[in-house]
Point group: C2
Chain length 225, copies 2
């Protein structure tokens, strides 16, 4: 891959990306408070770009600004998970329907297919991280094919909000073999142009995921992730 010698990325953007990463990595743990100056020091920049990044991240629901107490990394409760999965269920179902209506050919569905294959491989190798990454790609590509940019954006935001939480629950449950069966059915329905089926199957898929996660959190008494 040819690369530009160096892309001069602005401090604001760097703050945005690095803070996101640190939140996902648990480097900035859920529920923790951080002063603007602390974050600025952490990233070796002044407060200004940090403030801008933090403003944006607040809009994405990843943290909360509490004047004089610092920015709080938002924890995700089981109720939050339920809310988020409900949103995903509704919006992704429509995306699946629309993708089926669009009548994509096999080539256009390649990314979707690859993601599913990758998940199979990951499951066989018991590589849950790789599975999660491929799962993300599947759902991102699905909403992309759905053709509604707002849905794609919202779904992305919601998935970001559950990223941390999902990572911890990932290792608490059996291998998601059934999940990939669902994915294949969705793909099948889209490829055959059956919009109603695509919608129904994907809806069931997400509802099932929701119940799995929610009951898992309840079982382990996990209130905040």
């Amino acid at each position: 891959m040819s690369k530009a010698p160096d892309k001069p990325v602005s401090s604001s953007q760097r703050a945005l990306h690095e803070l996101r990463e640190k939140i996902f990595a648990g480097d900035l743990p859920a529920g923790s408070d951080h002063l603007e100056s602390e974050l600025a020091g952490l990233l070796n920049m002044s407060r200004t770009p940090v403030r801008e990044a933090v403003l944006t991240l607040e809009g994405q629901g990843l943290l909360e600004l509490r004047p004089r107490k610092g920015v709080r990394i938002l924890p995700v409760s089981p109720e939050d998970m339920a809310e988020i999965y409900d949103v995903l269920t509704e919006l992704e179902s429509l995306a699946a329907q629309r993708a089926a209506e669009a009548g994509y050919d096999a080539d256009a569905l390649r990314l979707l297919t690859e993601a599913i294959d990758d998940m199979d491989v990951a499951i066989a190798e018991q590589d849950l991280e790789a599975w999660a990454a491929a799962d993300d790609r599947f759902h991102a590509e699905l909403v992309h094919l759905g053709g509604n940019s707002r849905i794609a954006g919202i779904v992305g935001m919601m998935i970001d909000q559950v990223r941390r939480a999902r990572k911890t629950t990932l290792f608490m449950r059996p291998l998601p073999t059934q999940s990939n069966e669902d994915h294949r059915q969705v793909l099948q329905a889209i490829a055959s142009g059956d919009a109603t089926l695509a919608r129904a199957v994907h809806r069931r898929h997400r509802q099932h995921a929701k119940s799995i996660i929610v009951s898992l959190l309840a079982k382990h008494r996990l209130r905040y992730l």
Copy 2:
């Protein structure tokens, strides 16, 4: 109403509210570009709080930051309208369903009922502005009763995005008498606890609204609002 003598609202918040209002009022027209310094001058403050407000508004999809060309007030195309109404259809339908499942009594449904009554009055008086305001209240209260805060937030954002556009189309179509029939049916279904019906009726309501608006825009060749 008793009021605090004066609430010292921050400049950032003032910028946020005033810019929003100016966008909705068409004071900052769709598609227009504005330099940060221009907006700062307009609001009598420095660039800093303006930048913060603009960042937030970008996240809400009301404007776009194009460095060196100014912030552009985002126009809404017919395709955007279609996207937005699709999102509203999916998310509000679930809210209606959940509201019905929650089993609210008549008192809890008072705001919803009042909004409907207000719309009847507004229609009788041919006061479209009042009708639109009451319609907003109906939909806001519906998603509130749905109990999913994220849905409420997203729906609010989407409605903000179509505000300007809706205002102009409002006077191009017949009185929305049928619309309020739908509202009553939704209320009825919620009051009687029929979640499936509530969902179905509201879905039809929003889909109908979408087709009305989209065909209206097509008919009048309105590409950007």
